[in-house]
Symmetry: C3
Subunit: 335 residues, 3 copies
């Protein structure tokens, strides 16, 4: 019976092992040697450290482990191992592996949201048709690195050339040009529980991005650099109660589309990244088919998990709790 | 003896029933049919659901209930039933009903604050005298919808014409033109306890408004839409400790003015919405004579309630606790 | 054996006495008469009030106390008594007194960070060499008052003249002209524990400053005042997990430099105020050698203290816990 949780020591790994320990599960971290001293601080939360020189050695290690291990995927796993490697890992993951692949392709990702009936921004495949402010996103970019805003074809082409020159992408097909939706960002954290067969809202965050969230403090008269969108942290936020039914519905729709497309539910944590417009429409510009770093805000629970559970419940703990609740049925939900 | 809490399933209702359950009180929600599935998720917090097709049917229902029910008023109650209906409800509320009426009239609201000795922005009744940046607020607007900034008479008249055309207001008398105060917003959550005869600070929030809180991320060179001020969420914040005595004093002043004007205290939660200027002055531009949605941040308590109570104390729970503390005296404080 | 904690009733004093009471220590507050009513609200957290007309009378009082008292220094202590007075106080403090002196001089402060191997912004002593956007900071300014942004020598000289005219500084030597680093602010709260001989990360905050954090909401087309940077509150934030090893390393470096320079560790809470750039570099523009007000966010613990302690642990409580853990060794760490 799989009962040992393992993940890469990065992204949300401290939350994951902390939560697992609260539920009494066994925990292992794959740690890069240079960061071992840091993670050793949390030795009380980690039963085993597997030390590697670099995360990219991680696949071999993970594949050598016995069937008692369950891999908890997160953004850094995908970033360091690459989608191809993650898809081929022999070790079972708690989650829906196919979503990782869908998520890695900007076009497929947006189609998946659209097929779920979720509103998405207009996408410009033909740059000559750009007639409004757009944001240009680079496939596989780490935490928003290299993303830029532009207002016409010329600016888009100029920016993409620069991105190619810098080696951020290889060709323009690795970029997606989306309508820039005016509104405010909100990132909804969901958890699909096979045990209860329900989608839970576990929290909401706003990403804290450099330098864009600092530029707004500079007077207009001064020369400013162009905004960049590198995520360095997260800020807590809640939504109006009247938005919650719609937010839950979006999470349920995404899960249904996962079942339709992949034959199985999402299983565990995921996220829909949105902009809320002033007419009340919620436009999704991304989803993440696994735990997001914004959940690290809520080690001691979010307003939503306190409502739901009445006790300290992080997403890390929620994962461990689900694994325990599923018991013998767990094997059906590992992927 | 009234001991069953009831409220409309919206705004801060989950917090209210969660808090009531922590104190062992009975809870009821009036739910719109289309949202029943959502609220059923919280069945463990709700003893009775009263289902309506639309909230505007709520008055009849509320008036048909027995004397054991206490209505907890919130922003959605006023929004959906209308001030007139709420004033005439037969059911007792926990709060000061007269404040709901005062709050509903922008001019009376500002006078009430002024009479309490609280600093308010300059109001322009004569538009020809506008000599600084102003914000135009529409009476009864839901969550800031339709508010706009203008810098002279012409822009004010143009904006008001548009608001009338859109049906947001009927005539210019339903709008208030206020000096735009430069500073940062802070919303102070208070609770007046008849039992302890004291005003408590239960938390502070910043409203998260679309699209204004997103526009600041856009470079100046790009064409941007005009800002709008629709509240979609709340962000937690604390104030410098040296501001707290003044903040408490403002809350006490408002309560004293309530006693002077209406013959009774505020009873329970209220809020003063302010801008803090860089010279340290705190300017109020609104108050809410009942629970505000920003308190939903603190289901697990705020820094201020943790200081005061040393245990998890949301405003929802604080309401229920006060009702229990008052015991037989409660009847004197229902309105 | 010193076992009574005393501090000035301001800044973070409620957190300090709250935490001390959780650990069962004795607490005293020096309170200004005009604020006594406010602090009396927290009588359950305070064993003794020492009433003064003004804080500047505090030195005499503090020096008259017996050896059982330990002074917990904070920003208001330094602001109201002045660095000279604090350096000469007979009463022992929990902290490193020499750091208070270093921190009070903008040039020494920046050198201290630099010597610790921490990246700092370029400093312009020769104004004719200013070739980029700069921020001008006034020595000893309360919470950022009078700070301004400028883009060339002329604007710097004009702004400094104004600051001298307003009496904020006496001469230009009391100002420091620093490169304005484009990125986002993050303030890291550290705690050096002599008992465990380790640096802990206890939390992170963003300062909420008037009017700069409000100006960003105003459309560009409107006339806006120049930004000001007066801190009135704090907002919670977390950092990406992959930044944590570097953040901890910065805290450790600063502590090592304290030992090299002053012969002793920092002892207890401190803070490094930084900007995170979009290339991942973390640039420090200040440090505080004692508890910062941003820690008041976490009366009920931060995500980081929940990970570390698994129970409610504010910095106030952490101070008291360390004092208890040190036991007879405490005397070696008082300063």
């Amino acid at each position: 019976m799989p009962n040992k949780l393992i993940t890469l020591a990065s992204h949300s790994s401290l939350q994951i092992v902390h939560g697992a320990k609260m539920e009494g599960l066994s925990t292992s971290l794959v740690v890069e040697r240079r960061r071992l001293n840091f993670y050793k601080r949390y030795s009380n939360l980690v039963d085993e450290f597997y030390i590697v020189n670099e995360f990219k050695e991680g696949s071999k290690l993970l594949n050598s482990l016995g069937d008692e291990y369950i891999l908890i995927p997160h953004g850094s796993l995908i970033e360091y191992l690459g989608v191809g490697e993650v898809m081929n890992l022999r070790i079972k993951i708690f989650g829906n592996r196919k979503l990782i692949e869908i998520e890695s392709n900007q076009y497929d990702k947006m189609n998946f949201l659209k097929n779920a009936g979720i509103m998405i921004p207009q996408i410009f495949n033909n740059y000559t048709k750009i007639d409004k402010t757009v944001i240009v996103k680079l496939s596989g970019a780490k935490g928003g690195k290299g993303y830029f805003i532009a207002k016409n074809e010329e600016e888009v082409r100029k920016g993409l050339k620069k991105a190619i020159d810098l080696g951020l992408i290889k060709n323009t097909k690795e970029a997606i040009v989306q309508e820039y939706v005016f509104g405010v960002p909100m990132y909804f954290h969901y958890f699909y529980s096979p045990y209860y067969d329900r989608v839970e809202l576990t929290g909401i965050d706003i990403r804290y991005e450099t330098n864009v969230d600092g530029l707004k403090r500079i007077p207009d008269a001064l020369d400013k650099p162009l905004p960049s969108f590198v995520v360095v942290g997260n800020i807590p936020v809640i939504a109006r109660e009247s938005l919650l039914p719609k937010i839950i519905e979006m999470g349920e729709s995404l899960n249904k589309e996962a079942i339709r497309r992949t034959g199985k539910p999402i299983t565990g944590p995921y996220c829909i990244e949105t902009i809320i417009k002033d007419d009340g429409q919620i436009v999704a510009f991304e989803f993440s088919g696994r735990i997001v770093a914004g959940t690290n805000l809520y080690i001691n629970g979010s307003p939503y998990t306190w409502l739901e559970w009445g006790e300290q419940m992080s997403v890390g703990r929620r994962i461990a709790k689900e694994i325990k609740l599923l018991g013998n049925d767990l094997v059906h939900y590992l992927d």
